[in-house]
């Protein structure tokens, strides 16, 4: 069954013409048709559009121009602009918005010959950790339908875990790729800030946002990372650096690798089952010759607080453009300003409004210094402490999420608990560090994610070691209980 194959194996069989691109695409569309009514991972599936991508990919293969991912299906988070295909950010305000241009990553996917199977669900404007804040639908965890796939890229994570696509793109502002990857038992990777162009990603927190891959293997994630990264002149914050290289992916070793286990992430607030899972995995890595030590970086304790000032502040400004004037929803009101107010009141959901208000407050005259400026100072401190730690360690290791997948609705009444779920993932966004989550075991049938963070621009080394970690944890693979 082609849906069970990894991207790498699919690409090889497509290139060898053992499979056709349309056939593979259709198999995935069929699986979406079967499962997604239950899972709710996709917001838009357009088979005709998918077949156009498929035909372009087949033409590449037939012309002998196939690359490592040509013909491989991919799901795309619905906050990445796709020319001619609705891009909603799971918000009423963009419910019928059809972009006229491709995000840089989407353009690169076309160039690589990937085949888009659909646009995936998310928390509205990527604000959330459970995908419950979507204005349109709830997404369910393939391992347990009563549970959340995490968020905000929950749709992409669920799609890959449920084999509706071997690859997906997500965006990560405080953990929105890695946390759902962890809860769904797959690989999620956030590259170094700037290695992947943000052009065409509908902005949430511009200084934190980064696009990255979901896959079921590290190798697949690395290949997708290679396809979408590299300098882009359309993004001023894009690093002047080539795409992430994968040729040395399999030539690393854990022997002598210096792993620093973040003490602050394995304390009381972490579910003991998660702590156990991570510790078992660390034992396996030690057995492979890794040099594992505990390290304490107290300043990461300020991560969540700092994040919930900086991200909403930037968001409050980034979301100002949704005013009903040029695109998206328009609700008439008294005068121009009245129209804008009515549009935004009707178009944004509760969580988005709450964050816009928090961010507006944090930037207001008289509060700017106490909140936004202070948060930036703490952020700089945290970055400095982490950079210092990378003098001693190749990777910093922690759980990805302090808890396994939680029940849908379980945490909606406790927004603070929901926000604490980002505790382990936020530091990577604060400092722009590359970080990856991969499955390291199970607790009561639910996946547990291991979080690996590397130094800035150390993406290649991080992927190389993650590949070794994946091999060292053979028991951490498995399929969710789906047909």
């Amino acid at each position: 069954m082609p849906t069970r194959l990894s991207a790498t194996r699919l690409a090889a069989r497509l290139a060898a013409k053992e499979l056709g691109v349309r056939e593979v695409a259709q198999a995935h569309l069929d699986r979406i048709a079967t499962l997604d009514a239950t899972l709710g991972a996709f917001l838009t599936v357009d088979p005709d559009e998918t077949m156009r991508w498929a035909d372009a990919a087949q033409a590449k293969i037939d012309a002998g121009e196939a690359g490592p991912l040509t013909g491989v299906p991919i799901a795309i988070k619905d906050n990445l602009c796709t020319a001619g295909v609705r891009t909603t950010c799971a918000s009423r305000i963009l419910e019928s918005h059809v972009p006229i241009y491709d995000a840089t990553v989407v353009r690169r996917l076309r160039e690589a010959g990937c085949v888009m199977v659909g646009k995936t669900n998310l928390d509205e404007f990527a604000m959330g950790t459970s995908t419950e804040n979507s204005a349109f639908q709830v997404t369910r965890n393939p391992w347990d339908f009563d549970r959340s796939p995490g968020g905000s890229s929950g749709g992409s994570a669920a799609a890959v875990a449920a084999e509706m696509a071997p690859l997906a793109l997500g965006s990560d502002t405080g953990g929105s790729i890695r946390q759902p990857a962890s809860l769904c038992g797959i690989v999620g990777f956030k590259p170094t800030y700037g290695r992947c162009s943000r052009y065409g990603l509908v902005a949430f927190g511009s200084s934190l946002d980064q696009i990255g891959p979901f896959a079921r293997t590290v190798e697949d994630a690395a290949l997708l990372a290679e396809a979408i990264t590299g300098h882009d002149r359309r993004d001023s914050t894009s690093a002047n650096h080539p795409a992430i290289a994968t040729q040395a992916l399999k030539s690393g070793t854990l022997r002598g690798a210096r792993l620093g286990v973040l003490k602050e992430t394995l304390g009381e607030s972490t579910d003991p089952r998660v702590t156990q899972g991570v510790e078992r995995a660390l034992d396996a890595l030690r057995a492979e010759g890794a040099d594992v030590h505990e390290v304490s970086i107290p300043s990461i304790g300020y991560g969540v607080t700092t994040y919930y000032i900086i991200a909403p502040a930037e968001a409050s400004s980034n979301l100002a453009r949704f005013d009903g004037v040029r695109y998206g929803l328009r609700v008439e009101g008294k005068g121009h300003i009245g129209m804008m107010e009515a549009t935004r009141a009707a178009g944004f959901g509760h969580e988005v409004k709450a964050r816009i208000m928090i961010g507006t407050y944090a930037l207001s005259a008289g509060y700017y210094d106490a909140f936004y400026l202070r948060a930036q100072q703490v952020r700089a401190l945290m970055r400095r402490d982490l950079e210092a730690a990378f003098q001693d360690f190749d990777l910093l290791v922690s759980p990805t999420s302090p808890v396994p997948a939680f029940k849908i609705g379980e945490l909606t009444s406790d927004p603070l608990a929901l926000k604490m779920l980002d505790y382990c993932t936020i530091p990577a966004n604060m400092g722009g560090f590359p970080a990856l989550s991969l499955n390291c075991g199970f607790a009561d049938g639910l996946p547990i994610g291991l979080h690996l963070m590397g130094p800035v621009l150390g993406d290649e080394r991080l992927l190389q070691l993650a590949y070794c970690v994946e091999r060292a944890l053979p028991d951490a693979t498995g399929r969710p209980p789906l047909p």
């Binding site: 602009c81 509908v202 200084s207």
Partner: protein, 481 residues
């Protein structure tokens, strides 16, 4: 009634003459069908990002250097957040802070009314983006034209407390600033097209008082004259308000060009909170000395310095020097003529006289004109060495302007060279004297003024070509024989 002193702060916005907009590649031009020069970036479409225009940054830096500003070696763009339909992103990219703008703490010198020069302090020179234009549609409702949205805009603000105290100084400041921007080729300075916009703020206070009065801000001024009249009107209006024991209201007032009066537009309520913060989509601009030095090297001599040099070194009047430097090409023409050996005063007289008149009449500019500096110098040399008379030179110049031919060619083809051959002139003199015995008789009877008549006749017969001095000498000689 007390005497009042006025204080005028000047806020000028200049659209930069870049080919493309500040953060996208859309072209910059005036007019055109609405929304024909737009793209996803300048429309603020979801997901788009800004890429700064390096040329625009360079233009602002060059202006800041020309205005003697301190340059911020590290400067960031801020977002100025507010809602308005003509603002595509819900924020304007601008620059905030005292020492963050590309240039700050500069100065501009203007000619003072009593002679000499006056220093006007410049507080900041910064870079931002223009907004679109909200328009009321003829069929009702409103629309927004985003052609102008994202055009690079330079803001130049004078110091507080203001140095400018009179309407004339306000006009002079603006004129000097415009000249500098045009000299630097950073702005076309067309106030009527809105590419240079001026919003003065005016307050008055009793003579000797330390506290500044309440300001009003003036908008819709689209010429130097309206700036001068507007400031004058506000000073008079505020004086009348205070003389009647009332208080000046802090407000923005519009200028009615036809009525030559200001009218209230909106009262300033609580200070708007724009929630400025560094734009996370743009990286800080960092400059080094070597780069600034390379920009400094591109600065032309500025108009006021030129004018001073023309007066002090070349001996021109302030008026003449002012006319010459008013246009960069005009001044360059003058300088190249002088360099080619032309006498400064003579060249200046020709330029500000016939040449300026012909250009004006024909609607041409010096750049498109036919007469090269070399040719003008040649003409002055022909007069100087006596080849042609000053009177003929005027006709020759007219011909030069029309055809672009060299003065020597024109003179030769017309046979217009001056006759300085005493023999040839003597023949004409003899003929004229012989034909006018009555006049000669009058002269002999002591009525010497009639010699002028004979001289005129000789000049006429020579078609103006005879050397006038020689004619006078020979006529006198013939009569005295």
């Amino acid at each position: 009634m007390p005497e009042y002193v006025a204080s005028v702060g000047m806020e000028v916005h200049a659209e930069l003459m870049t080919r493309s907009k500040m953060f996208c590649r859309c072209p910059v031009a005036f007019g055109g069908e609405p929304n024909t020069r737009v793209c996803p970036v300048c429309l603020g479409m979801p997901g788009t990002l800004p890429v700064p225009n390096r040329r625009a940054i360079e233009m602002v830096l060059r202006t800041a250097l020309a205005l003697d500003c301190t340059i911020a070696m590290r400067s960031v763009f801020h977002r100025k957040n507010y809602f308005y339909p003509d603002l595509p992103k819900g924020y304007q990219v601008s620059q905030y802070g005292e020492t963050n703008p590309l240039g700050y703490a500069g100065k501009l010198e203007i000619p003072a009314s009593g002679g000499g020069y006056k220093r006007v302090g410049i507080r900041r020179v910064h870079l931002e983006e223009d907004t679109g234009k909200l328009m009321h549609l003829p069929a009702g409702g409103s629309g927004v034209d985003f052609n102008r949205a994202g055009v690079p805009l330079m803001e130049i603000v004078t110091d507080f407390p203001p140095d400018i105290t009179t309407p004339d100084e306000a006009k002079e400041y603006l004129a000097q600033l415009r000249q500098i921007l045009v000299y630097l080729e950073v702005c076309d300075g067309k106030m009527e097209e809105g590419s240079m916009r001026c919003e003065p703020n005016i307050s008055i206070r009793p003579e000797g008082s330390e506290t500044y009065g309440t300001k009003t801000e003036l908008k819709n001024l689209n010429s130097f004259r309206s700036v001068q009249l507007g400031v004058q009107f506000e000073v008079r209006r505020q004086t009348a308000v205070l003389d009647h024991g009332q208080r000046v209201v802090q407000e923005t007032r519009g200028w009615d060009e036809n009525r030559e009066a200001s009218f209230p537009m909106r009262v300033k309520e609580a200070e708007n909170d724009y929630r400025y913060f560094p734009d996370p989509d743009l990286v800080p601009m960092v400059f080094d000395e070597a780069y600034l030095e390379s920009l400094r090297a591109t600065l032309p001599e500025l108009p006021l310095a030129k004018s001073r040099r023309y007066q002090e070194v070349m001996g021109l009047s302030a008026y003449d020097a002012g006319l010459l430097v008013a246009d960069r090409d005009w001044a360059a023409y003058f300088e190249s003529a002088v360099e080619l050996g032309g006498d400064a005063k003579t060249v200046c007289n020709w330029m500000n006289g016939d040449y300026a008149r012909y250009l004006n009449e024909s609607g041409n500019t010096v750049g498109s004109g036919n007469v090269q500096p070399k040719q003008l110098v040649e003409l002055t040399k022909l007069i100087e060495d006596g080849t042609i008379s000053g009177k003929i030179a005027k006709d020759v110049f007219a011909e030069m302007f029309r055809t672009g031919h060299d003065p020597r060619t024109i003179v030769q083809s017309k046979g217009a060279t001056q006759i300085s051959d005493a023999g040839a002139i003597g023949e004409i003199v003899a003929r004229v004297v012989g034909a006018n015995p009555d006049v000669v008789a009058k002269y002999k009877s002591g009525q010497t003024s009639v010699a002028g008549f004979l001289i005129g006749r000789v000049m006429a017969e020579s078609k103006g070509r005879a050397n006038p001095q020689l004619v006078r000498d020979l006529v006198a000689k013939a009569l005295d024989e």
